[in-house]
Symmetry: D2
Subunit: 260 residues, 4 copies
């Protein structure tokens, strides 16, 4: 049976060299398992907890790097867009445009993304029920673009904490669109460290396993060679050294789920 898809990369792009190194490591980890992967990186962290946190390389440099990665590795690439003005430009380079969770109800952004004809990965807002995503996807589909992915990344659970409701995956799958589980942001502790968000990296493999056990079509997982010193989301990223092992386990659960 065909393995699940992986969306992986650093949270924030650091440089071409850094992206190449990580992409090579991801390719190495996925190849023996036959897991198709999408390289993911953000050129702009537009909604950091605090103004003092780094924003990123910017759209020009960012898209240049993503284009180079795509050429060199032949893998699809994904980035997130925060403004209708950026959508068309990003769509010239990337295969998948991602709508951030906070922005998943912004009609203009969804329509602009849909109109590019690219695959659109929509993160479910922390404030939405899984059944609310059918209306969100319909905004994209109204443009004639049915290439939609729906992505669970945790629901608000009191203050400064998210919970992953694994019923959300089969519920969103009823739309007919593939459902991705974002194992990185689901273990975020938003605002949990004062001016930055904390995280619980130790639960990423277990929760990603659970997601495949309930039928996720893909896993989103950020990775870094040195998470503790990454410019963003360090507390929840998987060290790239551990990636092959984690993926091996995930593939085994995925195979069981698919009946073989």
């Amino acid at each position: 049976t065909a393995p699940f898809a992986l969306i992986a990369g650093p949270c924030q792009m650091e440089s071409l060299e850094h992206s190449r190194m990580l992409c090579a490591r991801i390719a190495e980890a996925t190849a023996p398992l036959g897991i198709p992967f999408v390289f993911k990186a953000s050129y702009d962290k537009a909604n950091r907890s605090s103004l003092d946190s780094q924003r990123g390389l910017g759209i020009d440099k960012g898209l240049e790097i993503l284009a180079a990665i795509r050429d060199e590795f032949g893998c699809p690439v994904l980035t997130d867009v925060h403004d209708t003005a950026q959508v068309a430009r990003a769509a010239e380079v990337v295969d998948i445009l991602q709508i951030p969770a906070f922005l998943c109800r912004q009609t203009d952004l969804l329509l602009a993304a849909g109109e590019t004809g690219r695959v659109i990965n929509i993160k479910k807002g922390q404030f939405l029920a899984p059944w609310d995503m059918a209306n969100v996807a319909a905004k994209v589909a109204s443009t004639g673009n049915e290439s939609v992915l729906l992505c669970e990344r945790g629901a608000s659970f009191g203050y400064n904490m998210l919970v992953s409701d694994f019923r959300a995956l089969p519920i969103m799958a009823e739309t007919g669109y593939p459902v991705i589980y974002d194992a990185t942001h689901s273990v975020q502790l938003p605002g949990g460290m004062g001016a930055t968000s904390g995280g619980q990296r130790q639960y990423v493999p277990a929760l990603a396993s659970a997601a495949l056990a309930v039928g996720a079509a893909g896993i989103f997982m950020e990775t870094h060679e040195d998470p503790d010193n990454a410019p963003s989301d360090g507390p929840n990223m998987v060290p790239v050294d551990a990636l092959a092992d984690v993926l091996g386990t995930l593939r085994a659960f995925d195979r069981i789920r698919k009946g073989g």
Copy 2:
């Protein structure tokens, strides 16, 4: 003692005539109580649950109407902005720019708003803790603009429901910025009617009273002459006929809180 401020108006602008009629009714209801008011209306509902819901009059017509209201009634006016591209234009007309709750972490929007020098009313995201708003306000303040209002409008509580945590008001007040309670959107049932959001109008007066009892500096309350037929947020708006009575009660609680 000085009364609390009221931010009131329809959810969605319908026409100049309709806005004038409502503004006159709000002026009538507030005048005997000495309650200062800001006229609020949206020219674009950019994040409706479903694509089939009405979006609004658009920025050109919308700002023209707000300017006319401001001229005729001499009251400050407020509108919400969803895109950095709209901020400067809206700021030419309105006294208060409002940042929607879903967008309260979008750094560029906060900075663009701050740079206009207008008063910025920031709705607290349904996914944020009250103490997280200090970092949000700091983004605006970094532009040198300290005219910030922080607005509670409910926190995510399970699916399709919000809860008003009244501890949030004193907690946000510790920033030194005035705290507004949005009594309309706090009783929203997001996505609760399938393709639209439901609401619980019956609790608006009680919760607004509670907000003043815990020390709110202002109340945000949408109103309409016929809420059941309003194009947006009908289930949670106060009928304009009931406004004078509701405000009389609120002012009484406000006076007690202020020690006389």
Copy 3:
């Protein structure tokens, strides 16, 4: 108009002398305002976070003290019961039997309490919706005892935190039974200090004010002469020195709510 009722006392009974002292202070604080009060104290803390916390004086000594207080001060007294075996004995002494929140779904305890004919104050479980309390009250009412009070004390909101949903008060009032707001336990941070529960005493007056603004029939508020050294619930109790001031404010809000 008749003032709201106050249920007040220490969390945990310490001695006859201590109960007499506190009851005298409560009587002093309520008398000038005409606020009727019920003296509340627990003889057994049956569900402490940790085994190492103090349990209390036990039922024999506890009921003896409550009887003495009742005789000396002429006020009604309340205690909580945790076991059907204790109900009849406690009912010989107290005017109001209280069902703890964790136990509010235990049918036998509710029936045994109802059958005593005493007033039954049922705390709403942290895990229940306000509309679920109608079925809970019906269990007591099935015994022919309609002397029921329903008491809001916070709903679970993520881990180690409660939130007071003030819609719960009017919702529970639809049953026709008086609704009490427990301003002490609503600001508990359950398990929030590891082996004990934390609390947020600073929000008690504000939240009690909010409760009266939305129409509470009574306020439950634990008090102590030295909360920081109380054997239980210290972090959320009001110092008895502050009681008169707090009650003065509460009565003012109560009067407004009652239209005069």
Copy 4:
């Protein structure tokens, strides 16, 4: 590797014949997979939503049936206790005493249960964080009885809904005690049908799979030959006809988790 343990049976005991039939079916479904099972049944549903719901056969008849099942099938049996007065009697018959979730903080019940020396299965309260269970288990352990199981059965998530936080399993496992996942009550919709609780049977297999993927030592799963007509918890029980299939899948996930 040794398979996970199964705790299974009807929610509510109906008769000896009915228990025998179900136990035989459970034995049939588990034997080929080598899954050890415990027969579970309740003789008294002490905390039904409404008084009109059936309570059960009572302790005398209930223990008699459990003893007969134990003799005939040679499997361990489990029942839940609600009152310290019942503990010693139930312990004469059953191998595992279960503490209901609502009662998991009742110190006397925990101590009485611990003192019997039986295995104690403690359901985590819907109002507790997973790390709070260490203090709960310590109450049992204080009696010298270290045969403790900790059981996740969902956490309160807004009103009338639970969510399974799968981080809770590894967190509770840090105590050193085996962790059970109750796949039946975790999909309960408490009070969700007015006078009874609703449920979401369709998610039981997926969530049980997820639980084994994150490392559960055992699965608790109620079953019935005709769930829609069962006297209690019908909406969340697995039809006994489907049991063998469900267990086959669960064992496959369990084997992967255990590295082979």
